[in-house]
Symmetry: C4
Subunit: 232 residues, 4 copies
């Protein structure tokens, strides 16, 4: 089942090492088919060189394995919480990409210092608190997901489609697997440039709101004019 | 029309990912034929892997699309302003290359700390102010171009063939597409070394004027002696 | 003799340049067969491009060359001390990998700032003191090994399977050559992220103990649930 | 003439981009045959992709072009001064490699923080002063060479076979072209690690003299025991 989605999720997983976002097995992509309420996710701990489309595991929104002989990613419960709370998303990516993880370890959100960031994410990419001892010792991965979804409860999760979990690493999402990986690449790039930017000018201030508005709307608003009409 | 120029501009665009200056579609090169008053530019938002010479869009200096079925780069109006104000240039490059963009985000010009810089750019590479709210909400890309050309109104735009736009990123130019890309690579390299140089010695001062004169003239003056005579 | 082990150790040595951990000949991997009390190690100063499985040198735990026409690595005595004191290990890796060596030169252990680190190493990766003048001028490589084994005398060497030697560089180990190289890659990655993390937030604190416990146990405890059962 | 030397110097020049030490044409290697008093050097400004062994230019120690239809490197006079003052060297390398040039721009010598450095260079790699206005406007490249040779007049130029020229970049040398390039790679690597090391611990002190002695002698002294006897 879900052969086409498995292929897309497989290819998106393979894009993680291609874009330099993962070392070893430190990342996973999932994608959901909303009609069936099932999502497809990378199996846990399988090396990218050995991964095949048919290894993808199918899981339903109660967390039951619907198809697949391998264990799904240990982060499956986090993905699941995001799918339940964010109805517009079609895919979730988790990595330990180096610069984004450095910000997560530092416990700081990534300020929006320029248009590279503003083209994809409207304002600061938040860094969420570390889970409490109780949350960690309980349903850890589910609680990670809930921390994220609770943060976005009064915010537009499509306007800032990525966040950092303190002492852990980044999660990103999008309308499909390709876009979610794209957001992960953007996140890593802006994390790198923001760190260097603060090194070059420790007094730097975030970009003004009108520039954020302009660039975000240039790509995303009703009057967007970036790219080709047919490609939207 | 302009088949040879299209090929040159296509190849210069393809050099951007080759030299590590762009991620995804975050960059564009254009080149002008002064006789016809038309320039050739990358189409907007097309992935580099899929780009073909015949996809290049031909635009005139009033901004009309003369040939091409795709939308030109969303930065076309910026390129156009540079062509109108800088009669000696044959090409313009815009990227979000990582180190140069970090300086642009930091709002600082890149001081000339050594001969690598001085061989190509005579003195500091300026960082221009962020546009005002009015300029952003008006003809944003045209205003970006005008900010650049107004800065150079009393300066030699061929002596410092690159600048940074605050909170945005770099623009570079040259007598043809190959040279403009070359300047973009130089810019990225000196941006990287200047940041590291300040980290190694926070009290560092720019290189003395006589060294700048020597290296710039060694390559560019009437008595230049770098390279092969036939290659000039 | 030990043909299969020679092949494994050869391949693990070749993984060092593949993962960007060595320049020139600046690294070596060895692996031991506990029954015979012999270990296999890279020959000294041989370039990786020219290395062959049959060049591996077989050494016993008294330091005698049992087989091989080439000199073993100049670090052989350090490896030997680790094998004698750490009965559970099957392999040792030494490199001058760039980030880990920078921490070693800085004389600081690498704090555990997040789960990437905690998944493999339980807490800070220690930086051991520089040897005394007497120790350096005596049996230098043996004394390096003893410094390491004395540090771990009251600690679990399998829980933190890597350390730094001040002014020198990192050593890592594992149950076999593949795992020891894996730990060297993890060490380099967490060394890089910890340095950047401190740059982003100079006030950063190590990750809380409960997070370390959770992640280490998720992969290593009796109730571990990362990966596939068959792969453990 | 000097066909074998031309091939060696050609290959050493091609190693510069291979090891990531040069962008475009920003580097050059030369090698000398002491009997004839002639040295072979890269032509000026020729791209590495187009370089051929037969393009190498033969120059004598008075600076006359003995063979070759292309202009020799604009840095030829610097190489020449080193050959005249350093009788034991067989080759010279100049690059603008990124980390070493950052130290040169910062005007600081590279302290010896560890054994990677001590294995090849005995103590700090010096940063020489910027030339005076008179020296720059006179025989600039010759004066660069004389500044270097005067610094080493009372020092062992084989013990520290590299230096930095302030606001410019590094020079390295060795007994042949391969070794000189090897030293350039070491220089870049230790420049990188020293900068990061100071970032990790701003209070870091150079490695103790006894460790420098040990590592330098392990590789270079009469009782050296690194590598294979046949390879020395």
């Amino acid at each position: 089942m879900l052969e086409e989605l498995k292929r897309q999720v497989y290819e998106a997983n393979m894009d993680l090492p291609k874009y330099g976002l993962v070392t070893f097995t430190w990342g996973n992509v999932s994608g959901i088919e909303r009609e069936s309420g099932c999502f497809v996710i990378k199996p846990s701990g399988v090396e990218y060189e050995k991964l095949r489309p048919e290894d993808m595991v199918v899981v339903d929104l109660e967390g039951n394995i619907v198809e697949g002989s391998l264990n799904p990613s240990s982060d499956t419960s986090t993905h699941l919480e995001l799918y339940k709370a964010f109805p517009k998303i079609g895919a979730v990516v988790h990595t330990h990409s180096s610069w984004a993880t450095s910000w997560a370890q530092a416990g700081r959100g990534i300020p929006c210092y320029g248009t590279t960031h503003a083209d994809y994410m409207y304002g600061e990419i938040p860094c969420l608190r570390c889970l409490s001892e109780e949350e960690i010792n309980g349903a850890y991965e589910m609680n990670t997901g809930r921390l994220i979804t609770e943060y976005y409860i009064d915010k537009d999760y499509m306007a800032v489609p990525a966040c950092l979990c303190k002492n852990h690493g980044p999660f990103a999402w999008g309308k499909n697997a390709k876009e979610a990986v794209h957001h992960s690449v953007v996140l890593e790039e802006v994390a790198k440039m923001a760190a260097r930017c603060e090194q070059i000018n420790p007094e730097v201030k975030p970009a003004p709101k009108e520039l954020l508005d302009k660039h975000y709307m240039r790509k995303h608003g009703a009057n967007s004019y970036y790219g080709q009409k047919s490609a939207k």
